[in-house]
């Protein structure tokens, strides 16, 4: 059911709430707590929200977002008892525009992970093949939409956490320009990279969300947020798309072939293809992980068992020992790994070496991307250099390999540009997303152009 044309019915709302409790993919958490309350909200909602643009649309929300009164854990035992005292701006805006909240979706712990498998609350299965991962860190939001459990979902994208699960699950995932959506109410992972994003079935659904003004105004409570302004686009009859020949040469054969096939298809539609280069893209993952882990180690410093987290036992008498015990007990392995890496990068010996260099390279990479974008309407490339992996195969991947698999998405996070993954490809039946990347603040135009070109294809 498209967001644009939804006819509201109480039955649909009740059905989607019940789907969260029978959900076979591990896409929803806290259902037992939430479902009864949400059911009781249906009637008042039906009476009050009639004139809103998202009337009757059900919405899943990643458990990273504060929704007042709901358990909000960020997938971590550290926050397993935490109830959100307020609602994040993005969610409040969507609810004010009529979106009906049906549940909290599953994720990797503190948004750190690529396969929705780092949280100790359980992993998320890919709806079209439950032997495979739904991706991460917004796996739950993607699985909920792909599995038909909800009309659309909100996720967060720091290095690809909305785009990659969209690619794995065969749906659309959109990450706006950094600052276009307020971060107020998002449990922070890497502050200069985090952005709320949307998981939907179609590009038109993302287009509709932008049309109704979700990104229009900046939020005074988020000093890094920016006014993107009211929805405005101009019609184009002809499009120029940038592509990366370097990737055609270096990607795994099947992925490269699929990339070529989509490009050929567009070309035959009359799209002009322009080859571009982003030399630093091959190093994007290194740059990303240095910066993201550094910011993460800072943002997670507050979890010490005093204000958040539970006490393990009687105090050892030494504050630092107590804190160590709380953090090593209630943080999962991946989170601990990234905190340690980040602390190392930020130490006085390394800061001027690794971190300073990463910051410089980030600027250089952003310039390369801007330059590439100046030659075209938008760039197009595969979202991930793989299809949804099997759980068995994930067991054999090293952390380093997993980090490197993000390199196609992280570069655009670093540059703060908008990007949308559209399920245009497939390999032996497994969906492969193509990522379309636009210039900063040109979110509306990017989505419009992608919609125009892919009309009928998705």
């Amino acid at each position: 059911m498209s967001l644009r044309q939804t006819t509201a019915s109480a039955e649909h709302l009740a059905l989607d709430i019940s789907k969260t409790t029978t959900d076979p993919f591990g896409a929803f958490w806290h259902q037992k707590t939430l479902a009864p309350t949400l059911l009781s909200r249906i009637d008042p909602y039906m009476a009050t929200y009639e004139k809103t643009p998202l009337y009757g649309c059900t919405m899943g929300v990643k458990d990273l977002f504060m929704v007042q009164g709901t358990p909000t854990t960020a997938g971590s035992r550290m926050l397993s008892d935490f109830i959100a005292p307020y609602t994040s701006t993005v969610i409040q805006t969507l609810m004010d525009k009529g979106a009906f909240f049906t549940g909290k979706t599953s994720m990797d712990e503190f948004a750190m992970g690529s396969f929705s498998n780092t949280s100790s609350f359980g992993r998320t299965l890919c709806p079209w093949d439950t032997q495979r991962s739904a991706g991460g860190s917004s796996g739950g939001s993607a699985a909920a939409v792909a599995g038909g459990l909800v009309d659309f979902a909100v996720g967060s994208d720091t290095g690809g956490s909305v785009r990659q699960p969209a690619s794995f699950c065969g749906i659309v995932g959109f990450k706006p320009t950094y600052g276009a959506l307020s971060r107020y109410g998002m449990i922070p992972y890497a502050s200069s990279l985090d952005q709320a994003g949307f998981l939907t079935k179609t590009v038109d659904d993302v287009r509709y969300l932008l049309e109704v003004g979700v990104a229009e105004h900046r939020d005074v409570r988020d000093p890094t947020s920016i006014d993107v302004g009211p929805y405005e686009i101009y019609e184009k009859t002809h499009h120029t798309i940038g592509y990366l020949p370097h990737l055609l040469e270096t990607l795994p054969t099947a992925i490269a072939a699929e990339y070529q096939r989509v490009l050929d298809g567009w070309s035959s539609q009359g799209v002009t293809l322009v080859p571009v280069e982003i030399p630093l893209l091959d190093h994007a993952a290194d740059i990303y992980y240095i910066i993201a882990c550094s910011e993460a180690s800072s943002n997670l410093a507050r979890y010490q068992g005093v204000y958040y987290g539970k006490k393990i036992q009687e105090s050892s008498g030494d504050y630092f020992e107590d804190v160590s015990l709380v953090r090593s007990t209630y943080f999962g392995t991946e989170v601990q790994r990234r905190i340690l890496l980040g602390s190392f990068m930020q130490s006085s010996e390394q800061k001027d070496v690794l971190f300073a260099r990463a910051r410089q390279l980030r600027k250089a990479l952003s310039s390369e991307i801007e330059y590439a974008l100046s030659h075209c309407d938008f760039l197009m490339l595969p979202t991930v250099p793989m299809v949804a992996p099997r759980w068995d195969d994930i067991e054999h991947m090293t952390p380093h390999e997993i980090y490197l698999s993000d390199y196609l998405t992280v570069g655009f996070s670093l540059a703060g540009v908008p990007a949308i993954s559209v399920p245009l490809g497939s390999i032996e039946g497994a969906p492969l997303g193509m990522q379309c990347v636009g210039s900063r603040f040109k979110d509306y135009q990017l989505v419009e152009d992608v919609y125009t070109i892919t009309k009928g294809l998705v």
Binding site: L79, Y86, I187, V306, Y319, S348
Partner: protein, 457 residues
């Protein structure tokens, strides 16, 4: 340079000024220590972001203008990380590489000699919570009312060479921040905290090992701590040993400094520019707006004031000068064209009376000018009456003559007491007192003995 035994002493001070803003540095929580309202930012609720308030920045700029510091048009905030229960975020928001103020100086006068003490830099930062150890047997409690309050940290150059110099500098900074209205100056409440660093060296061109002293809550304790350190370090160096670079706490009860429980390694704060806070940009409009609203010419004006009153022949102590400078600017300016009585009121009589009657009403500029226009004794009488009682201002005016109706009453009293009058006229003092009493009984507050007396003799 003064020598202490064989040694030259070098001192630097870090002063933390609690800014008297209405709200905290990055949130709209009211900035009072008694506040029982918190916003989520103060206790680090995830997802809440720091939003910089304007007032603390204004106050920092005011300080910068008054000390002729270089006010940076672009400065940044950084996170200083360490784990401690008094730091809810696990990091303090401060400025390190790119603070808002660079340089600047503070003039002092010591033993009649003028000197300028140089400031290294000053920056804005958040205060921490306060650990309370003695409220419970089993727990240390954390008082979070203070956390994230705005502080201005003023770091001097290590350019002071005696405890007296350091104390004069600290007092000068204290005077300034109180006069600017950016700090209430209450040392005992922690509004103005001084950390001192001191090193000794036989060679004046080289610095010795630096020792930092914390927990100093008054100017006399500052002097005591530094004197103690000089003795302690001299003894160590005389013995041929080395001074350990460390932080020591001042023990008020015993007047000595004590080593803190040692940390083997230098603290690793992992300073990182705060990604949530955009660059702090200050333009010329902002600066001139501050210049107009704050008394940033404090040091110059103070010199001008002191020169003016000494020209009038008024001898004022340091304490009296401080009290004088604490008056509002328009009150002091009013004095330049007024009389000696005006200054004596401000500098001597009013402070004395205020000390005895702390709850008394304040005077307006007009009232002060009225007092200034009278002769000394009349002025003092009127002032005393007003401060020490609830009498309305108009009725405090000392009487200079009696209304005819009251004169008539006196005559009536005399006429009804012919025998006593007669005896009085023949020199009987007792009768004079008796008749005075009778008159006062009838006239009450409408006359004073001095005004009645002429009619009796």
């Amino acid at each position: 340079m003064k020598k202490f035994g064989d040694y030259y002493v070098t001192i630097g001070l870090e002063i933390h000024v609690a800014l008297a803003t209405s709200k905290k540095l990055f949130s709209t929580t009211p900035n009072t220590f008694q506040s029982d309202t918190l916003t989520w930012f103060d206790i680090g609720v995830p997802g809440v972001l720091p939003v910089l308030e304007r007032e603390p920045v204004e106050m920092a700029v005011a300080f910068g203008l008054a000390t002729q510091s270089d006010i940076r048009h672009v400065s940044y905030f950084e996170r200083k990380h360490y784990f401690y229960p008094d730091l809810p975020l696990g990091y303090q928001i401060t400025q390190q590489e790119d603070p808002i103020l660079w340089g600047g100086s503070v003039p002092i006068r010591l033993d009649g000699v003028d000197k300028t003490i140089a400031i290294e830099h000053s920056h804005l930062e958040c205060d921490a919570a306060k650990s309370v150890h003695d409220a419970s047997d089993d727990y240390t409690l954390i008082d979070v009312s203070r956390v994230a309050s705005p502080l201005l940290e003023i770091v001097s150059r290590p350019c002071m060479h005696s405890p007296e110099e350091a104390v004069e500098y600290a007092k000068a900074v204290h005077r300034l921040v109180v006069a600017l209205g950016i700090c209430d100056g209450k040392l005992q409440e922690g509004s103005f905290r001084v950390d001192a660093s001191i090193s000794l060296s036989k060679d004046p061109s080289r610095l010795g090992t630096r020792v930092e002293c914390k927990n100093i809550s008054s100017f006399s304790f500052l002097k005591a701590a530094l004197m103690h350190e000089i003795t302690r370090q001299s003894d160590i160096l005389d013995d041929g040993s080395s001074v350990v670079m460390e932080t020591r706490l001042f023990d008020e009860t015993h007047g000595v400094t004590r080593s803190m429980r040692s940390k083997e390694t230098v603290a690793e704060y992992r300073y990182m520019r705060d990604p949530d806070i955009p660059a702090l940009v200050i333009d010329e409009t902002f600066i001139s707006d501050v210049q107009q609203r704050y008394a940033t010419d404090f040091f110059d004006f103070r010199e001008h004031l002191i020169a003016h009153v000494s020209q009038r022949g008024l001898i004022l102590s340091e304490g009296q000068i401080e009290l004088l400078c604490a008056y509002p600017r328009d009150v002091l300016l009013g004095g330049f064209t007024s009389t000696d009585v005006y200054w004596k009121t401000l500098a001597y009589w009013l402070p004395d009376l205020k000390a005895r009657f702390p709850e008394a009403r304040s005077l307006t500029l007009e009232q002060l000018q009225t007092l200034g226009s009278m002769d000394a004794s009349a002025s003092k009488t009127m002032l005393t009456t007003y401060i020490s009682s609830e009498t309305p201002w108009n009725e405090c005016q000392p009487m200079t003559s009696l209304d005819p109706q009251w004169v008539a009453v006196i005559h009536e009293v005399l006429q009804t007491h012919p025998e006593q009058c007669d005896k009085m006229r023949h020199g009987d003092e007792k009768m004079k007192h008796f008749l005075m009493g009778q008159c006062m009984k009838r006239l009450k507050k409408h006359a004073t003995p001095a005004l009645i007396l002429p009619y009796l003799v």
